[in-house]
């Protein structure tokens, strides 16, 4: 029992890193643009399918394929921002939510048409191969996925806190109008942030597809978890998203070991509701200013 719990904690932390990757894109977009990208789940699955295509048809390694998929998804994200988000003039928050949902439906429909609804799983030696730690076996992919997440999140940290673009992003997050006044092109920052968020989703999608069998419908399960994570951590907070992702996966894994897998997500959702009752802004969220 004890080793099982240790195992649950370790896999929870490792997969939590991957969820952090997807959730950081979501929370970043929310922070800068004040919109909830409910298509993030569908975009993660799209990223997973892109990796699948590259591997099946061109025999490109999954991790190497990210060099292609991430820029493609970045461009796709910028395109979405230009085509669908920017034209929205009034009631941005709600309308963008519906627009992104519509987009998610289209992506899901197209994926269903192209790949059918059968589950697929990415294949590679490090997905099937495993090594022994302590008393149990761990597939290499968990470690590799975690490392990928760590590298990309470190890159994101560098981008946000060490570059001029990062200053613009953080300024736009703090106060959009003031950022515009000091000469930041907030629209441009928004488009690039959206692209970055979706490129992160693509990387997360590869790691997700390597550890889970998926089809286009998996997007619903993903988006509910991702939304829960960013609310739990506090919307717009990157560190909150990291801690909440790891926390959620660890809680779920421990619940499935000590109680039953069917209650795993229920426990997390109940915990989320309790946290929100006690602390409505989430763990690391900013107190919302009064909207006039």
């Amino acid at each position: 029992m004890f080793t099982l719990i240790i195992e649950a904690i370790i896999t929870g932390i490792l997969t939590g890193g991957v969820y952090a990757l997807m959730a950081s894109g979501l929370t970043l977009v929310f922070g800068v643009m004040d919109i909830i990208n409910v298509a993030q789940g569908a975009l993660v699955i799209l990223g997973a399918y892109l990796s699948y295509v590259l591997q099946q048809n061109f025999h490109i390694d999954l991790f190497l394929g990210l060099v292609i998929t991430m820029p493609v998804m970045f461009a796709f994200g910028v395109g979405i921002e230009l085509a669908f988000i920017r034209p929205i003039k009034r009631d941005r928050t709600m309308i963008s939510l519906l627009v992104m949902f519509g987009l998610a439906l289209v992506i899901e429909g197209v994926l269903n048409l192209v790949f059918s609804a059968d589950n697929v799983k990415l294949q590679a030696w490090y997905i099937t191969g495993s090594f022994q730690v302590g008393g149990f076996y761990l597939a290499y992919i968990y470690v590799f996925g975690f490392l990928l997440a760590a590298v990309l999140l470190a890159g994101l940290y560098w981008l946000l806190y060490r570059t001029k673009f990062g200053f613009s992003v953080r300024a736009s997050m703090q106060n959009r109008v003031a950022a515009e006044l000091i000469g930041i092109d907030v629209e441009r920052v928004s488009a690039i942030t959206f692209g970055v968020g979706i490129a992160l989703a693509a990387a997360g999608g590869m790691a997700y597809g390597a550890t889970n069998a998926f089809n286009a419908g998996s997007a619903y399960d993903l988006i509910s978890r991702l939304l829960a994570i960013i609310i739990f951590g506090g919307m717009g907070s990157l560190s909150g998203a990291l801690i909440a992702s790891v926390g959620m996966l660890v809680i779920e894994d421990i619940t499935s070991v000590v109680w039953s897998p069917v209650w795993a997500s229920t426990v997390f959702f109940v915990l989320l509701v309790i946290i929100l009752v006690l602390r409505p802004r989430g763990l690391f969220g900013q107190v919302e200013g009064r909207k006039q």
């Binding site: 309308i95 519906l98 992506i107 509910s224 829960a228 609310i231 959702f269």
Partner: protein, 349 residues
């Protein structure tokens, strides 16, 4: 003007009543039943989201609760198919409303985005309960409802049509009453500025909760009719995430915060959706999603408020015509400036 309005309402109601008699084709009435169910659910949702501005995306939970409630009642009390289950519909709505009290109390402590997401989270909790409380819900196998064996052929859809129509009319009446009461005025004040409303003496907490519970009640009743109509409930079909967004989209299409908007939006969208599902299962999602995008981007205001806006502008132009001063016309809001002279949606309807 008032008489014209009442007459128009009566005509529409009469048309709705004779509709299944004129078009008795089961394919048509089948679509009509779903359209009425969704129009009613959207009307219920609008009482919360449209009037208070709290966009809840978890009402599929109350729809599912109503559906499961009627299924469990019928099973436990051994009710046969026929007209009896229709009398259980308000009871099923009541179950949804009772569950909505604590959930709404928790959810309404937060605002804006956090509220949206907490309602989604609650929806998933309810869905997971439907999956996991196998003793009550039978898990993934689902529950079946009694089948009315006496009704057959073209007649089968008719009782469901009228049941859904009655609940829709009740929902619209509640919506109208809320809209024209002091309680509704308080809700609108909450939508515009909650802190100021509280400062002016609106009991914001209890008003919001009341709106939440009323909307859950209506959505729950529609869920019960839906369950009886489709004859079986499963966790994935009764608690459907698409439902949340579908009723939101219907309300937005028709015009959020208006009385007639959600009804119009529900009738239009559900009909199109049913049509596309029947016409092409393969391209259904792509077509529906694209349509969805086009509507939202072209008509962000909704149909009813757009018509209202155009009509007001036309009337204002007409009123100024005798003087025919071009300056007066130029002073009126033009197409280029709707953002400046923005009118709050649904002030008049």
């Amino acid at each position: 003007m008032r008489i014209v309005k009442i007459a128009a309402l009566l005509v529409i109601l009469a048309l709705a009543i004779i509709f299944p008699i004129v078009y008795s084709d089961p394919t048509v009435t089948n679509i009509a039943v779903f359209a009425l169910i969704f129009a009613g659910a959207a009307t219920g949702w609008n009482i919360l989201a449209g009037y208070t501005g709290y966009i809840a995306l978890g009402h599929a939970g109350y729809f599912g609760l109503g559906a499961y409630a009627i299924a469990i009642f019928c099973q436990d009390w051994n009710i046969q198919g026929g007209y009896t289950p229709f009398f259980l519909v308000p009871l099923a709505g009541l179950v949804a409303a009772i569950v909505a009290v604590p959930l709404g109390w928790i959810a309404l402590r937060v605002r804006r985005h956090t509220f949206v997401v907490i309602t989604i989270a609650m929806f998933f909790i309810l869905q997971l309960l439907a999956y996991n409380l196998t003793g009550l819900t039978n898990g993934t196998i689902g529950l079946t409802l009694p089948i009315p064996i006496d009704w057959s052929g073209a007649f089968y859809n008719i009782p469901f049509y009228y049941a859904a129509l009655i609940v829709l009319v009740v929902a619209a009446a509640i919506s109208w009453w809320v809209r024209s009461s002091k309680f509704g005025l308080g809700l609108l004040a909450i939508r515009d500025d909650e802190d100021r409303a509280r400062g002016l003496g609106v009991k914001t907490g209890s008003s919001k909760l009341a709106a939440f519970v009323i909307s859950a009640f209506i959505v729950g009743m529609m869920g019960a009719i839906w369950a009886y109509y489709v004859e079986s409930v499963y966790p994935a079909s009764a608690f459907d995430a698409n439902f949340d967004v579908a009723i939101a989209l219907m309300t937005f299409l028709g015009g959020i915060g208006t009385i007639s908007g959600p009804i119009l939006g529900g009738l239009l969208l559900e009909t199109t959706q049913q049509y596309f599902t029947l016409a092409s299962t393969y391209y259904y999602l792509v077509i529906y999603g694209s349509l969805f995008l086009v509507i939202i981007l072209l008509l962000p205001r909704g149909i009813i408020p757009t018509i209202q806006y155009r009509w007001d502008k036309y009337r204002a132009l007409r009123a100024n015509e005798p003087r025919t001063s071009e300056a007066a016309v130029a002073a009126l809001p033009t197409d280029g400036a709707p953002d400046v002279v923005e009118k709050k949606e649904g002030i008049n309807l």
